[in-house]
């Protein structure tokens, strides 16, 4: 009898604990939109806090973004490789925190991989921008117009020469757009021109070639003027559709050869709208890094003179002297602000800047762009470039659909097993069913209490638990039946059934737990969720299927017959 009291007390405690564990999740799941608003009015942030405490739905259930990054170790020095991944994780975590995504999952996988899960976040491009940027901020001077002009002239003559060969073969063979492309000797360039002829610019290209004009520079519409003395600087507008073409010309080996080593062509970070079409900017820069952006402090958003977005910063001690020297020596010249080798903007230096600087964003930059820049600058630079090797965008529709399917299969599975056991073992079966319900309840409570993430495979684990959990009772009941057949009393049969089946049950549970453990330790992504729910489900079933059901039998122990 004493043992009975103990078991009742422990079970009571478990039930209370389960309710506590479940409480937040229950409240969150039953929270309607207006309730949520009310909560926020009474105490701001309380709804979000509740959300954090509740059981989370995995990416597959609520939609979101799953990204796997690889830290490109080969691109950094060996000495920096030791903790590069950990530092990268720190930087990415900071960046994601700034975006306000709740409960991101950022994990290290293997030697050089990072998994980033952003539940509820579906803007893949934006996410790539935030987590993928190395955020190497550099300041570079723009090349002078004379030097840039010389380089461009050389490129033009190369392109014209290549184009001529292309045109000659075109003249030789009538209607031979395809032939031009096949021309073996000038393969690269004829490819370029083949493309050009097909595109919208075909007309222009054709005339340009026949008149021997400059086919490269005609794509470059200069825009970077110093308003003070009206000097042009090598910054050009390129129509969005021509970007590929320009890139291919710049990638031609002959062209590469004429670009001096200290000069680089750099694209703008984003497109802009000019004369009703999308354009990129192309800059010709001196590629010497004048100043590194890692000394920036107190980064915050601001507004420029013409109301464009800016990111303002302050420089610390020594670095401010260097910056003052740089800006002082280059007044009235443009200074390119380069992030990850793309030009954010190239404002003119008006005066010597000592402490406070400003990064002006292009006129097309939205507040989001400015915020992104702020985030990546604040969180610091990644220790090594990263590449995105896996990207999984799950729409919310897929999520609601999955939830529905998971719910249906859980309920149908539960009912099926419930009925099966109830009918086959009658009243005893119902007692097993009660144990099963407790199992599910405790399992959900533990997962809620641990703030575990519920995924589709996790639901599969719960459903499988339903099947495995009653197994223990079947083992016991079959044993009880055997004992009854051998002529024992009801009381003795029940006790013997439980005692003798116990070792077998433990054996069978341990083997399943070994599997769940291995899956948890080594499994990735979806497997982990499955392992967690299977592990807890099986562990709890030891208690619910053996102890709780026995307790119920013991309470009604005066009975002389057993419905089994």
């Amino acid at each position: 009898m004493k043992g009975q009291t103990w078991r009742l007390a422990v079970t009571g405690i478990f039930i209370v604990m389960a309710f506590i564990g479940f409480w937040n999740t229950l409240r969150y799941w039953t929270l309607s939109g207006t309730d949520r608003q009310k909560m926020e009015e009474i105490r701001p942030g309380s709804a979000q806090e509740l959300e954090r405490k509740a059981m989370r739905l995995g990416l597959d259930l609520q939609g979101g973004l799953h990204v796997v990054l690889r830290v490109q170790m080969e691109k950094i020095e060996a000495s920096a490789r030791v903790d590069a991944v950990d530092r990268a994780i720190q930087v990415i975590r900071n960046r994601v925190d700034f975006t306000g995504v709740t409960e991101p999952v950022i994990l290290k996988q293997g030697d050089d991989r990072i998994i980033v899960d952003l539940p509820g976040y579906t803007d893949a491009a934006q996410a790539e921008n935030i987590i993928g940027q190395t955020a190497q901020l550099e300041f570079k001077l723009v090349e002078s117009m004379e030097n840039a002009g010389l380089i461009l002239k050389k490129i033009d003559s190369i392109v014209v020469a290549a184009g001529k060969t292309g045109t000659e073969s075109k003249v030789a063979t009538a209607g031979a757009e395809s032939k031009v492309k096949d021309s073996a000797t000038t393969r690269d360039t004829s490819d370029v021109f083949g493309e050009m002829l097909k595109g919208d610019t075909g007309q222009v290209a054709d005339t340009a070639l026949s008149e021997g004009e400059t086919p490269f520079t005609q794509y470059l519409e200069p825009f970077l003027y110093s308003s003070k003395n009206n000097t042009p600087w090598p910054g050009y507008v390129i129509a969005m559709r021509d970007r590929g073409l320009v890139e291919r010309i710049l990638a031609m080996p002959e062209v590469k050869r004429v670009i001096p080593e200290d000069v680089q062509f750099s694209w703008s970070t984003r497109t802009d709208i000019k004369a009703a079409q999308s354009v990129y900017y192309l800059y010709i820069l001196k590629n010497k890094v004048q100043f590194l952006g890692k000394n920036l402090e107190r980064i915050k958003l601001g507004r420029g003179q013409s109301q464009e977005h800016t990111v303002d910063f302050r420089l610390s001690g020594q670095s401010s002297a260097a910056f003052a020297r740089l800006t002082g020596a280059n007044i009235d010249k443009p200074l390119a602000i380069v992030i990850d080798n793309r030009v954010e903007s190239a404002p003119f230096i008006n005066s010597k800047i000592r402490n406070d600087g400003q990064i002006t964003m292009g006129s097309s930059a939205t507040i989001k762009d400015a915020q992104n820049l702020e985030i990546v600058l604040k969180a610091g630079a990644l220790p090594a470039p990263v590449e995105i090797i896996e990207k999984n965008v799950i729409g919310p529709t897929l999520g609601s659909d999955s939830i529905r399917k998971g719910l249906i299969s859980s309920i149908v599975g539960l009912i099926a097993v419930f009925l099966f056991v109830g009918i086959y073992y009658r009243l005893s079966g119902l007692i097993a069913d009660i144990g099963l319900l407790f199992n599910i309840f405790f399992l959900l409570a533990i997962m809620a209490g641990l703030s575990a993430t519920l995924t589709m495979p996790g639901i599969a684990g719960i459903i499988l638990t339903i099947g495995i959990s009653v197994d223990s009772n079947i083992l016991i009941f079959e044993r009880v039946r055997e004992e009854l057949r051998s002529g024992k009393t009801v009381r003795a049969s029940i006790d013997a059934g439980y005692n003798r089946a116990l070792l077998t049950i433990i054996d069978s549970h341990v083997t399943t737990l070994i599997t769940a453990g291995a899956l948890f330790i080594f499994g990735a992504g979806p497997i982990k969720g499955f392992a967690v729910s299977l592990f807890w489900g099986v562990t709890i079933s030891l208690y619910t299927a053996v102890i709780i059901t026995k307790m119920i039998f013991d309470i009604r122990k005066g009975y002389q017959s057993l419905s089994i």
């Binding site: 896996e390 399917k405 299969s409 495979p457 459903i463 099947g467 495995i468 079959e478 069978s508 399943t512």
Partner: protein, 307 residues
């Protein structure tokens, strides 16, 4: 009291050579499948091979073969296209290709533009995309190998400690038998090897072992009771018969839930539940016809008292 079976007295061990032949065929198919997978000729899912998965729905009904010819015409000759039954999106499809990029363009973008231009009057809405580089597959393969190795070793050691070395080996063989057999069947059905399939295989390994352990427990108990009368083979046979209704019942309940999962769990879990269904059936068979007969054969060759 309901009973599926009255007391039975079936000579399971007497059937062992038939069972061994049957299992041999299953194993041969399974081993062939494994060799093919190792040689890289298996139907590896995107998880392992890398590739792109695009799921979406059309506004209006569409013929699968039209979609297929459009996608293959767009340069994806090995695309697999699957119609998905979904509640709030009736004309849903999953398109899987084993490429991540096509000629410098992302495969997803290429797929989308191919579909959009092929069916200009029937809008295709993207629900999800999934891209995995082959490098991910490589590391997954490694961790998966570890998971399989650790769990199998763990089980072997546990059975060895709880019973004896022979039983441990026999149970492990039976477990491998089940996993390999299901892999073989999946290979024949041309199902993809995915992460979820591996999960299912490991789970069924644990489950099949459970089944075997129950039989072993009873054999051990009966050996103590009947050590003096009756021989080893009879004791084993008797034990299997005694726990037969239990074996069938437990398999039935698990089968029930995995069938439900198969029917209602949706696309994501379909192959997982199919593997579990096959696994429960093969696992039940092997605990009766493989695990115990191996111990019997071993005992016949080098007699030693079953501990």
């Amino acid at each position: 009291m309901f009973r599926i079976l009255k007391e039975t007295n079936i000579d399971f061990i007497g059937q062992r050579y038939k069972a061994f032949t049957f299992s041999g065929i299953l194993l041969a198919i399974g081993l062939f499948a494994i060799v093919m997978i190792i040689l890289g000729k298996g139907n590896m899912g995107l998880d392992f091979a890398g590739g792109t998965m695009l799921q979406g729905n059309f506004n209006q009904a569409i013929n699968v073969s039209d979609l297929r010819s459009a996608v293959t015409g767009g340069g994806f000759e090995e695309a697999s296209i699957q119609k998905v039954e979904r509640f709030n999106a009736p004309n849903s499809f999953i398109i899987r290709v084993k490429e991540t990029t096509v000629g410098g363009e992302k495969a997803v973008d290429k797929l989308m533009s191919t579909i959009l231009t092929s069916f200009p009057n029937n809008k295709f809405n993207k629900d999800s995309e999934h891209t995995i580089g082959p490098a991910v597959g490589e590391s997954l393969r490694k961790t998966t190998q570890w998971a399989v190795l650790i769990s199998v070793l763990g089980m072997l050691v546990y059975i060895w400690l709880r019973f004896d070395f022979r039983s441990g080996v026999a149970a492990t063989v039976a477990t491998f038998h089940d996993v390999i057999a299901v892999m073989g069947i999946f290979y024949i059905l041309d199902k993809e090897v995915t992460l979820l399939l591996i999960t299912a295989l490991l789970t069924l390994a644990g489950y099949s072992l459970t089944d075997t352990v129950v039989v072993y427990d009873r054999i051990r108990e009966n050996l103590k009771k009947f050590r003096k009368k009756g021989d080893f083979v009879n004791t084993v046979n008797r034990s299997i018969n005694e726990v037969l209704s239990r074996t069938i019942m437990t398999s039935m309940t698990v089968l029930l839930v995995v069938v439900v999962l198969f029917l209602f769990g949706g696309e994501v879990l379909r192959d997982f539940s199919l593997a579990m269904i096959l696994g429960v059936i093969v696992g039940t068979y092997s605990s009766v016809f493989v695990a115990s007969p191996i111990v019997v054969e071993w005992e016949a060759r080098s007699p030693r008292r079953f501990r």
